[in-house]
C-alpha cells in the first residue's frame, strides 16, 4: 500500500492480530533494515516463540500465546508486538537527558548520540519495550523506521507483512480502517477490542492493536493499569516531606537545649 509521508502528520501502526499468521517476516525485516544483531539460538520452550521479548536487539516480537477457543479447543493468539509510540510516553516523562524526543511524524525516538544509558526509561515503559545494549552503552527500541519515513518510505515491518496484519499510515486513516474492521468482526460473531485506538491508554497509542482477547492475555496492561510514572511525583515528594518533617522533629527533640551538664 503506498502512502505519501509528510512531516507534521501523525503516523503509526494498526496491528490487526486477527490476521497475524506468526510468520515473523516483520521481525526479519526489522532486523535487516535496522542492522540488529541476531539472537543466539536457544530453545525457550514457549510455543513457537524463539525471540522471547522486545529488547535492544528485537524491536518487533511475534508473540504466540496458546489459549483455549470459545469452543473449548486449542487456539493461538498471535501478535506482532512493538513500541507503542505512546501519546503520553512514560519513557519521555522520566528521561533526564532529553534523549527521547517526539519526531515530526509524532513518533517517539531515542537519540543515540544523546542517551547516556541511565536506563530510567526502562523502569518507566509500561510495556517492557526498551532494552539496554552493553555494546553501545545506550538504550534501544523501535524507531518506527524514522530514517525510512524521512526518505518517504513506509516502515520495513509493515512493508514485509504478507497478511497486512501490520498496517502503516496516517493515524486518522488507520483509526477509520480499524473501526471498520471491528464492526466486520463483530458481525461475524467475534468479540474483539481496539487497544490504544482511543485516548484511554496513554493518551492513545501511535501503534495500536485489534485484539481477540483481553489486553492482559497479550501481556498488555488493562486500561485501569495503564498509568503514568508521573502520577507518583506528588505523593512521593509529599511522603519525603512528611519523613523530613518528622525526622527533623526527632532531631530537635534529641538536640534541644536542656538544663543538663556534660557531667550528667
Amino acid at each position: 500500500m503506498s502512502v505519501t509521508i509528510s512531516a507534521g502528520t501523525a503516523y503509526g501502526f494498526f496491528t490487526d492480530t486477527s490476521i497475524c499468521i506468526g510468520c515473523k517476516a516483520c521481525e526479519v525485516a526489522c532486523k535487516e533494515w535496522n542492522q540488529l544483531p541476531g539472537n543466539p539460538p536457544h530453545f525457550l520452550g514457549d510455543s513457537f516463540d524463539n525471540t522471547g521479548q522486545l529488547d535492544d536487539m528485537n524491536w518487533r516480537h511475534v508473540q504466540f500465546r496458546e489459549t483455549t477457543s470459545a469452543q473449548g479447543g486449542p487456539a493461538w493468539l498471535m501478535m506482532s508486538d512493538v513500541c507503542k509510540h505512546c501519546n503520553q510516553a512514560s519513557c519521555m516523562d522520566v528521561c533526564p537527558t532529553g534523549a527521547i524526543i517526539r519526531t515530526e511524524f509524532d513518533t517517539v525516538f531515542i537519540q543515540q548520540d544523546v542517551c547516556n544509558g541511565c536506563r530510567n526509561c526502562i523502569s518507566a515503559c509500561p510495556f517492557g519495550v526498551i532494552g539496554f545494549s552493553g555494546d553501545t552503552g545506550t538504550v534501544h527500541k523501535c524507531t518506527l523506521c524514522y530514517d525510512r519515513l524521512q526518505a518517504g518510505m513506509q516502515p520495513a515491518c509493515a512493508q514485509a507483512c504478507p497478511t497486512q496484519s501490520i498496517q502503516f499510515g496516517p493515524l486518522v486513516e488507520l483509526h477509520a480502517r480499524a473501526d471498520m474492521r471491528l464492526v466486520a468482526l463483530q458481525s461475524q460473531g467475534h468479540d474483539p477490542i481496539l487497544y490504544g485506538r482511543d485516548d484511554n491508554v496513554y493518551g492513545g497509542l501511535g501503534a495500536f492493536f485489534l485484539l481477540m482477547d483481553k489486553p492482559e492475555s497479550y501481556g498488555l496492561p488493562s486500561t485501569a493499569s495503564a498509568v503514568r510514572p508521573e502520577r507518583n511525583n506528588a505523593p512521593g515528594y509529599l511522603g519525603a516531606l512528611l519523613g523530613s518533617v518528622l525526622a527533623v522533629l526527632g532531631g530537635l527533640i534529641a538536640f534541644r537545649r536542656r538544663n543538663e551538664t556534660e557531667a550528667q
Binding site: 521479548q53 518507566a124 493499569s225 507518583n232 519525603a240 519523613g243 518528622l246
Partner: protein, 295 residues
C-alpha cells in the same frame, strides 16, 4: 490501587545501591550538623557538629562517581545537566523526572557541603580565613540552612525516583522517600557518633543516640506504611519471598538496637560498637531489599 505490571527491570544494581546508601548518609550527616548548630546548646555539641560537616562532603564526593560508573556511557554523565540535542542546547532540567531534579540537587548539595567542609576544616585548624568568617555569622547559618534542605532532598529523592516508574513495588507506594530519609538519618547519626566518641563528651554521644532512636521511630512508621501500601497493591509478596525476608530480619535488628538506644537514653555507652554496625547494616539491607527484590 492494584496495578498489573509489565515493565522490565532497568538492571540497577550495586552502584545504585551504594549510591542510595551514601546519599542517605551524606545528606543525613549534614542535616544532623545543621540541627546541632541551629538548635543545639550554644557550643555544647560543637565537636559533633563539625564532625558531621566533615563527614558529609567526602561521602557526597563518592556519589557522582558511583552514578557515573552505573551509566552505560559514563563519558556522557554531563548530558544529565546540559541538553545535547542538536539545535537545542542549554541547561537540562526536567521537573517531572526525579533523576533530573536529583542530579541538580546533588550538584548544589556538593557545592554547599564543600563550602561548609572547607570552613569547618580551617576552623578546626585555628584558621580565620574568609570561609571561616562567612560561616561564623548569620550568613553561615543561611548556608547551613540551605545545605540542610538540600541534604534532606538528597537523602530522600532516591525513593521518589524509584516510585516514579512502572515497576512493581517501587511504583506501588509513596513511602520510599520518607523511608530512605529516616533510615539515612539513622545511619548518619551512628556514623557521626562513632567519629565523635573521642572528641565529644558523653552528653553529645547520648544525644546522638537519642536522635538515632527518633529517626528509627520515623523509619519504623514508614516501614509499616510501606507494607500497608504494598498490601493494598498486592505486591508485598515480592519483597518478602525468595529469601528476601532474611534481609528484613537485618533491617529489624538495626531498628531494634536504635529503638533500645532511645529507650535507654541517658545511659552512657548507648552507642557501643555493635550498635552502629547493626544500624548501618540494617539501613544497607533496607535499600538492598527494596532495590533488588522487584528486579
Amino acid at each position: 490501587m492494584d496495578h498489573e505490571h509489565f515493565a522490565v527491570s532497568p538492571d540497577w544494581k550495586w552502584y545504585i545501591l551504594l549510591y542510595f546508601f551514601l546519599a542517605g548518609i551524606a545528606g543525613g550527616a549534614y542535616v544532623i550538623g545543621a540541627l546541632l548548630r541551629l538548635a543545639g546548646g550554644a557550643g555544647r555539641d560543637r565537636a559533633a557538629e563539625r564532625l558531621a560537616f566533615l563527614v558529609a562532603f567526602p561521602v557526597v564526593l563518592i556519589c557522582p562517581i558511583l552514578l557515573t560508573l552505573d551509566l552505560g556511557s559514563p563519558g556522557r554523565f554531563w548530558h544529565m545537566l546540559i541538553n545535547t540535542t542538536p539545535g537545542q542546547g542549554g541547561v537540562n532540567f526536567v521537573s517531572r523526572s526525579p533523576m533530573s531534579v536529583g542530579v541538580w540537587a546533588l550538584s548544589l548539595f556538593a557545592l554547599v557541603s564543600f563550602v561548609t567542609f572547607v570552613a569547618t576544616l580551617s576552623e578546626v585548624r585555628g584558621g580565620r580565613g574568609a570561609a571561616v568568617r562567612l560561616m561564623a555569622g548569620a550568613g553561615g547559618s543561611l548556608v547551613v540552612l540551605a545545605g540542610a534542605l538540600l541534604g534532606l532532598f538528597v537523602a530522600s529523592y532516591t525513593g521518589v525516583l524509584l516510585s516514579v516508574s512502572n515497576q512493581a513495588v517501587w511504583s506501588d507506594t509513596w513511602t520510599l522517600g520518607g523511608l530512605f530519609l529516616a533510615s539515612g538519618m539513622s545511619a548518619a547519626a551512628v556514623v557521626v557518633a562513632q567519629f565523635a566518641r573521642r572528641r565529644a563528651g558523653a552528653g553529645t554521644e547520648r544525644r546522638l543516640a537519642e536522635a538515632d532512636g527518633w529517626f528509627a521511630v520515623v523509619e519504623l512508621l514508614f516501614v509499616v506504611l510501606f507494607f500497608i501500601t504494598l498490601g493494598a497493591a498486592g505486591t508485598a509478596g515480592t519483597v518478602l519471598g525468595h529469601g528476601w525476608a532474611l534481609l528484613w530480619v537485618v533491617v529489624g535488628l538495626g531498628l531494634l538496637v536504635s529503638l533500645l538506644g532511645l529507650a535507654r537514653r541517658g545511659m552512657a555507652g548507648a552507642m557501643a560498637v555493635v550498635t552502629p554496625v547493626l544500624v548501618v547494616l540494617g539501613v544497607f539491607a533496607l535499600r538492598a531489599v527494596i532495590i533488588f527484590s522487584p528486579q
